[in-house]
């Protein structure tokens, strides 16, 4: 379950996934390219947690650059229990090793893993938690996130890591960051029908159960139809792959990381180092991303995806005119087996459920196996709501 394990006497224990850079231990981002890599700088969020008394109890593996389904492409190997794929960082919380997991939500594996473990996670509003000291992949949407057993644990840790950071140019003001933590009540929730349709019966049952729990707590839940938000996935895959292609270009075998032994010139050094160290899903993402940014495709593909991002946000805001949050699944099924990973690109379709919050930067809270996407700066209210509604994990 761990890449590195630490002993800590701290009362509160935090586990960090391998996208969170640490100076005293390996951060490999799940890639052979960075196997053994020790950073010169440490994640701002982790430093804040440590300063608040949290003790780092371990580093958990992630899939290669955190874009896969649930860690199955990790250089440290897939983490499974009884044939089911597990998210190592979530399991560290579930087993009680850690009170909280500090993770980077790049392509939704965090939310899928949380939903399937019956835990609670929060992906805060983009810009409220510093990304300084995280391995960059899809910078315009990835967010430092938290997994905990209770909404309260998540909220406490979030109040520690949230805030302005001069070292992150996309970091928002302290005032805005603080506003995201304020208490609030969610009164009306939209259930996105177009999203639940493709999910299996177990997931649908989770949604139904959650809707019932909402109603029991006096919260209104209405089914709505939407044709725009479901388009997030295609646009997100373009933006994520393009940014990924650019971000992983730095791993070229010249300065650090994996270097091939098989080269006679610079081109071979680059090509063979990358060919030998990168996995198939990553290579596909690189090629796809590179293609979307080519002069030929930029306007047709990349620029269009940027425009879709804006349209999706508008669609959400329209819904938020009437509702406080949108309910949707976090994944299409409640268990992934190793058989699912035969489709190497499943994460590029399964992110149907996670792309909407990733592409818009809206906050998302996963609880009781389902996902709530809220207005910007409403994660405090979302966490309060699931705290009241969710009986699981308590």
């Amino acid at each position: 379950m761990y890449t590195v394990k630490f002993d800590t006497d701290a009362k509160l224990k935090v586990v960090a996934d391998s996208m969170i850079l640490t100076t005293d231990s390996e951060t490999n981002a799940g890639s052979k390219m960075l196997k053994g890599y020790k950073s010169l700088l440490e994640s701002e969020a982790l430093l804040k947690l440590k300063a608040a008394g949290y003790g780092l109890c371990g580093k958990t593996p992630v899939g290669e650059f955190a874009i896969d389904l649930l860690g199955e492409t990790s250089v440290d190997g897939a983490y499974t229990k009884d044939g089911a794929l597990m998210l190592a960082s979530a399991d560290a919380v579930k087993t009680g090793d850690a009170d909280i997991a500090l993770v980077l939500d790049v392509n939704g594996s965090v939310r899928r893993g949380t939903a399937q473990s019956g835990l609670i996670s929060v992906k805060p509003t983009y810009g409220t938690v510093s990304r300084y000291g995280t391995v960059p992949v899809a910078c315009s949407g990835e967010t430092v996130s938290l997994i905990g057993k209770t909404a309260e644990d998540c909220k406490n840790a979030l109040s520690v890591i949230s805030g302005h950071d001069d070292k992150d140019g996309t970091s928002l003001s302290d005032e805005l960051c603080k506003s995201a933590l304020s208490c609030g009540s969610v009164k009306r929730i939209a259930v996105l029908k177009s999203m639940t349709e493709g999910a299996d019966s177990c997931v649908k049952a989770k949604i139904d159960a959650f809707v019932n729990a909402l109603k029991e707590n006096g919260i209104e839940a209405c089914e709505i139809d939407d044709t725009v938000i479901v388009k997030s996935r295609a646009a997100w895959n373009i933006l994520m792959s393009a940014e990924l292609c650019n971000n992983v270009s730095r791993y070229d075998g010249v300065k650090y990381g994996y270097r091939t032994e098989n080269f006679t010139n610079l081109d071979e050094l680059y090509t063979n180092s990358r060919t030998e160290a990168f996995g198939q899903l990553l290579k596909t993402a690189i090629l796809f991303g590179s293609d979307t940014l080519s002069t030929e495709n930029y306007m047709k593909v990349y620029d269009k995806a940027l425009r879709v991002r804006r349209v999706v946000l508008e669609a959400f805001n329209k819904i938020f005119g009437e509702f406080d949050a949108v309910l949707m699944p976090a994944c299409s099924k409640m268990v992934y087996t190793e058989k699912d990973t035969e489709n190497k690109f499943l994460s590029y379709t399964e992110n149907l459920y996670t792309a909407p919050a990733s592409i818009t930067g809206l906050p998302a809270v996963v609880a009781c196996g389902v996902q709530l996407v809220g207005k910007a700066f409403s994660e405090g209210a979302l966490l309060d709501t699931v705290n009241a509604v969710c009986k699981e994990g308590k």
Partner: protein, 480 residues
């Protein structure tokens, strides 16, 4: 047939900011130990995020305004991807979609008169590192000191038509950017670099010929040679069919005096530009814009004219002072204190210049406190410090900008004493010691008195008013 050359330039200037464009490393590493000015950010390591150095945007705007450009009030940074070992993150952050300044105009003057050169755009970007080839070890080392040092690239329209015009244009850019104190623009230091886009067409034609881009010229002289070579190569190809011209990038070899096509591999490729999601668009509000506009200096011509018309300086003196903004500022400060433009100009062009020369400093390196210079001039004019001692004080002021002339004069015994008793007794002693000079003087050789005058001055350590000493000396000898 007669041909004309059509030239457009891409000029890179290193901005003279203290720190790099996206991190706090020092931007001044000329001659420093390799990799001594680096951090995880400018080495492209994962986890560091770029934070725009506001000073770089200030300087980009200043450069744009000096070149009469329109300033884009929302300016963005974009990533340009390519692989090279001197580019640590495999992308360069530059401005592709919304550069800081566009549509400018620069006036140049050549033997053929005045001409306007249109500026297409000025964009800000980060520099790459440097590869150092070690022949003995047959290896290549990378020095990242220069990575992320801020640059502006000034892209002109193809409005230039000769080596002479190119030289005038580059000199003009240098003058204007130095005036605004945004860039050193010294080709020998690599703080100004230039790529030349050139094509040739029949005179009067409005169709452009095949364009080639030349890189790797390290001096204005080399640029001129390269333009002349490339022009005749193009004409030769057109007239004699010696070769087929293709649009390509060529490397100038100044030693051989020839240009060579670069391997297509070095130039081909798609840079895959896209907006950098980690750098928010920079919004230049009115307050910021006004602050920068107001901080800009007068153009050199304006200063020259004003020195002549307002201060009554000669054309030559005005021209000399207007050569450098540092000279101008020092002069204007000195004048504001001493109240005499002529005295201030004289000191600038004689004593200050010779101090600069003695120290092998360029005009722009002048850091002398102009106000203090004005005080010094006042001390001399008021007869409180002798000229020779004033030079010593100026020397001290060059070494230490905090030196106060009055305090320094006091401390070193340079203040002219009003104690005429001392002067009288010195005159008496010196006259008594040189009866021959006195006799010579009395017999009509007026110059003979100078020997005694010199000895008195020396005895008084220069601390006396020369005119008073002279008068008293003559009076005394005449009274004998």
């Amino acid at each position: 047939m007669r041909y004309e050359t059509v030239i457009g330039l891409e000029v890179h200037c290193e901005l003279a900011t203290d720190s790099k464009i996206f991190c706090s490393c020092s931007a001044h590493s000329y001659g420093a130990e390799p990799n001594s000015h680096v951090c995880p950010a400018c080495c492209g390591m994962p986890g560091m995020l770029p934070v725009v150095n506001k000073r770089v945007v200030d300087y980009g705007m200043k450069a744009g305004l000096m070149l009469n450009c329109h300033i884009n009030r929302v300016t963005t940074f974009d990533k340009k991807s390519y692989y090279y070992p001197d580019l640590p993150a495999a992308y360069q952050t530059t401005q592709w979609f919304a550069p800081v300044a566009v549509n400018g105009l620069v006036e140049i003057e050549t033997s053929k008169g005045k001409k306007n050169v249109r500026i297409k755009q000025i964009h800000m970007e980060e520099d790459a590192g440097k590869l150092v080839h070690d022949i003995r070890e047959d290896t290549t080392h990378v020095d990242f000191n220069r990575t992320s040092v801020p640059l502006i690239e000034i892209v002109s329209q193809p409005d230039l038509s000769s080596a002479e015009e190119v030289e005038a244009y580059l000199e003009r850019l240098k003058t204007l950017l130095r005036y605004a104190r945004v860039a050193e623009c010294e080709m020998a230091h690599g703080t100004m670099r230039c790529d030349v886009n050139l094509s040739v067409r029949p005179e009067g034609s409005d169709k452009l010929g095949v364009r080639t881009e030349m890189k790797n010229m390290n001096s204005i002289e080399a640029i001129k040679r390269a333009i002349e070579y490339e022009t005749s190569r193009h004409i030769d190809a057109i007239e004699n069919g010696t070769e087929v011209l293709v649009q390509e990038t060529r490397r100038w070899d100044d030693i051989k005096g020839k240009s060579y096509a670069m391997r297509s591999k070095e130039t081909a490729g798609d840079y895959r530009y896209f907006p950098d999601p980690n750098v928010m668009p920079v919004v230049i509000d009115d307050k910021w814009f006004d602050e920068i506009s107001e901080s800009l200096p007068e153009f050199p011509e304006v200063k020259r004219e004003r020195y002549m018309s307002e201060y009554g300086l000669s054309e030559y003196d005005s021209e000399q002072l207007a050569k450098s903004i540092a000279l101008c500022e020092c002069f204007e400060d000195a004048y504001s204190v001493c109240g005499s433009a002529k005295d201030a100009a004289n000191w600038m062009l004689s004593e200050v210049m010779s101090n600069l020369n003695a120290r092998q400093m360029t005009y722009d390196m002048l850091t002398l406190n102009g106000k203090a210079l004005g005080e010094l001039i006042t001390l001399v004019v008021d007869g409180k410090v002798g000229r020779a001692n004033a030079k010593k004080i100026l020397n001290a002021m060059f070494d230490d900008a905090s030196v106060s002339p009055a305090e320094y004069a006091e401390k070193n015994g340079f203040v002219i004493s009003n104690d005429t008793g001392l002067m009288d007794s010195v005159i008496k002693t010196m006259v008594a010691a040189d009866p021959k000079a006195v006799a010579d003087y009395k017999s009509g050789k007026e110059k003979a008195i100078m020997a005694i005058y010199g000895k008195c001055m020396k005895e008084l350590k220069g601390n006396c008013d020369p005119q008073t000493l002279r008068t008293k000396l003559i009076e005394y000898i005449n009274s004998l």
